[in-house]
């Protein structure tokens, strides 16, 4: 599998660490809503098709990426930095290089 890191370019999947389902929403830290916590920790969408995932480029720039991957074909339709501001500055740098 090939993931195109917005900062580093196309890289082999062995450089990345899967960091879970990108659809999870972490409850407020002080929340006592156990159902919400349970859903956050254990529930996964597991779709047959496009899946919103978080990957860390652990063998590269170490940024976390929001990756939309088709679980049937491993086709990746979008990659973006999870962290918006980080993303824009990195994109800027990438454009400077190009």
């Amino acid at each position: 599998m090939l993931i195109t890191c917005p900062y580093c370019g196309p890289r082999d999947v062995i450089e990345f660490t899967y960091q879970g389902d990108g659809n999870r929403e972490r409850p407020d830290p002080a929340s006592q809503n156990f159902e919400a916590w349970n859903a956050y920790v254990y529930d996964r969408l597991n779709p047959a098709g496009d899946h919103n995932e978080i990957w860390q480029h652990s063998g590269g720039c170490r940024a976390h990426l929001r990756v939309v991957r088709n679980t049937l074909t491993h086709e990746i339709s979008s990659v973006a930095f999870v962290r918006g501001d980080h993303g824009s500055s990195a994109r800027h740098k990438a454009e400077d290089k190009a």
């Binding site: 599998m1 090939l2 082999d12 999947v13 660490t17 960091q19 972490r26 409850p27 830290p29 002080a30 929340s31 006592q32 156990f34 916590w37 349970n38 956050y40 920790v41 254990y42 978080i54 860390q56 652990s58 170490r62 940024a63 976390h64 088709n70 074909t73 491993h74 086709e75 999870v82 962290r83 918006g84 501001d85 980080h86």
Partner: protein, 1002 residues
Amino acid sequence: MSPRRTDTGGRIDRLKTIRFTFDGVAYTGHAGDTLASALLAKGVTLFGRSFKYHRPRGLLTAGVEEPNALVTVLKGEVREPNIPATMVEIHDGLVAVSQNRFPSLAWDVHAVNQLGGKILSAGFYYKTFMGPVIGPLKGTRFWMFCEHFIRRAAGLGSAGSAKDPARYERMNAFCDVLVVGSGPAGLMAAKAAADQGARVMLADLEPRFGGSTNWSAETIDGAPAAEWARRTVTQLEGRDNVRLLPRATVWGYYDNNTLAALERVSDHKEQPARGEPRHRYWAIRARLVVLATGAFERPLVFPGNDRPGVMLAHAAERYANEFGVLPGERIALFTNNDSAYRAAIALKKAGAAIVAIADVRSELSPEMRKLATEAEAEIFAGHAVVATEGGKALSGIKVQRFDMVTGALTGDERSIHADCLLMSGGWSPTIHLASQAGAKAEWNAARQAFLPPKPMQQWPTQHWIGAGAFTGSFSTAEAIAEGRAAGLAAAGGTSTPAALPTVEAVPGDPDPAPVFEIRAKGKSFVDFQHDVTAEDVRLAHREGFVSVEHLKRYTTLGMATDQGKSSNVPGLAIMAEALGKPIPEVGTTRFRPPFAPVSIGSLAAERFGDLKPERLTPMHDWHVANGATMYSAGLWYRPMIYGLSGETIEQAYVREAKATRESAGIVDVSTLGKIAVQGPDAAAFLDRVYTNMFSTLAVGKARYGLMLREDGFAFDDGTTWRLGEQDFLMTTTTANAGKVMQHLEYFLDVIWPDLKVHVTSVTDEWAGAAIGGPKARQILAACVTGTAVDNATLPFMGIVHGQIAGVPVMICRLSFSGEMAFEVYSGAGHGTHVWEALIEAGKPFGLVTYGLEALGTMRIEKGHVTGAEIDGRTTARDLHLDWMLSKKKPFIGSAMMDREGLIASDRLELVGLIALDNRPLNGGAHIVEALDEANPQGSIGHITACCYSPALGKHIALALVEGGKARHGTRAHVSDPLRNRFGPVEIVSNHFYDPEGTRMHG
């Protein structure tokens, strides 16, 4: 008569003699021979015994698909089993042995299984050894009892137990076009793509490029096909945009056109060259792949089709034309298609007599009749072979009139004397890689074969183009045209007006007659390697197996190491007939990697031997020079003990731990994970990450912290030092350093991007030495300048900055050993300098160096937890760390840690154990309330760490035991049937030694 070497012909070098042994007998062969061709040339026809019935078996094929002639190659102590003799290139000193026979290949006691053949049908073992429903051998227990004996009788070669000393390598490669297969199609594709300037890789599993040109009698551009191939290869060799990979099996096709190949670099050599690996694992990323993998010839299924001397027609052609070996003197043919007639001509030319051609088709084309006449063979059109005769070698066949439409056999059997029978049941394109890439094969009724789909049906992440026999285009002219087109398209070029090479070929119709099996009396083999007969397939059908996937698993058809390369389609055809369905409705199973067996060593190449990465602490060389026995912990190497001469490991660590508690000891702790946590929100961040408070920690102080995972289980522990208002140095356990770093990064990047915190791994920037013991402070006082180290300046958990031997150091007073102890950190480059200064200063005080064993011993005595207890299943409460769970703030894991199951009273809790029989305990041993050595049961927990405690003079352990704390002061037993260690223990607190901590607080 028997097989023999021809006087001329073949691509072997008769001037070079090579000596090798097979089953202890010395043989000679020639350069260019495989083990199969060299033995066949010496008249050897018996190569192995079959899997289930121990039937004598000879060569069926000449290539990678060989199911019968499997051998074990011995290299020193190392044995590699189940290698097709057809894939072993001989070299001087080669030692190979046959398999699955006892006591010898020619005289095998298990051959008696043949007599019981009616009983040993599909599913025999499942049905027979289900066992009674009650009693001591009920259910699977009976199977387990019988299995031992069955396994000895059935099977393939046995794996060795010696460590494999060979070197393996991994190579990552990138190219525009990867061409798999180097027959006419592959060569043309590689050349066309290379001419366009593309970066090309060409891989073939054979040592010689050229594929079928090596054994066909055709000419290309007026020259023998092999010569044309050699010229083309020479042209490719000279180009720097082409990489040629002979002996490289492309075995896996993965996402984004990543392919895996195994290159057998030095198996064919007596000794590998200096630094040369045995195998090289290639991970190839190609923009486009040209699959020119050719086709496999299929056997016909008829009684006795497995007798030595019965082989595939093209294989005989290969032995004659490529290796100069005649597989027999009086050769008969049995075919359902035209391609076998080529073999008749080739073998006739090489000097054999073609005694008969039995063709299931009653109508033969004039061209085929002409070829048969040329071969001086008697034609039996509309006939089939119904039996073979002979023992360990073929002596004759029986043919009978055969009706292709009804399958009926009529008329008298006629016996024909023959020592070799060639069969051809048509050809199956080698679609394995395309199938791996997700392509669904389509049945082609004319070709009687599964063909790969057209490229537009491919998955979006895999891009390949097929060419030649792979696509079902079986003629060389078509292969050349398709190969060039594929190469051009792969390189993004357009069609060229240049003329294609012209081929002069033996005529023939590529479409076989739809005949797979001749149903007559006797065992007709479908899967030769797993001994699956046509009757087994029908039995499976009668028993209700209708899906091909179930059929495969029940009969084990196609599940041997050859993965059914020759048996898949005949098996499906017989199943389809039994079901009364056409073959496409029955479908085919999906091929999965690997295409052919792969050495495990090649897959682990960079993780072993000199390619394995290692992490060394700054003081590593000092440890080695001063007698340390190093221990590999993850990628790290750490001193285990500093043994004195004659000391056992236990004597050494007991001495080290004792000396530390009596005077002082020093240990290298540079491997601890170290993370700089910095920024305005650093303290707030740590409050969320740790279960306890860090925002209240004073600058210049350290605190022990515990982290949980989101699900509320314990994750990691360590001390974090506040070096400044916004500057923390976090330490983690050695093993979890990377995981903790990722954990912190994830929360900062994904969950709390608003926090102004930077985390930096500084593990390798600092060298750390922990010095502990009653005299540790005096030793520091003797060598530290620029700061006092007394109790007022450096209280427990205090931090000071000073110098040792002129080098800046940071000292924190904290203790893992339970003694008054200090961790001294310096820049990594100064590590050995500071270490040596500490050792020097410690000399008058009896300072000892200690290793991991003594470190572990002292932590067990103190009852501290490590990864053995924080094992992902334990909570803070289980480890008696609930005092660290702050109630003043939420933290990672706080919402989930109080779940019912995590606070239950019967959870495994940390306890201490004392062996009451004064014998060593074992890690992993179970704890039971009542001992039952004969029938171990009733585990209430297990030992996580154990040692002999010099402080207590007893064998002790830490353990996780159900309701542990409530059991303090009670007795239990260790039950360790694997190591036969049973005995009484007392359950005590995990704090064995100095529970009040008076020694450490001073």
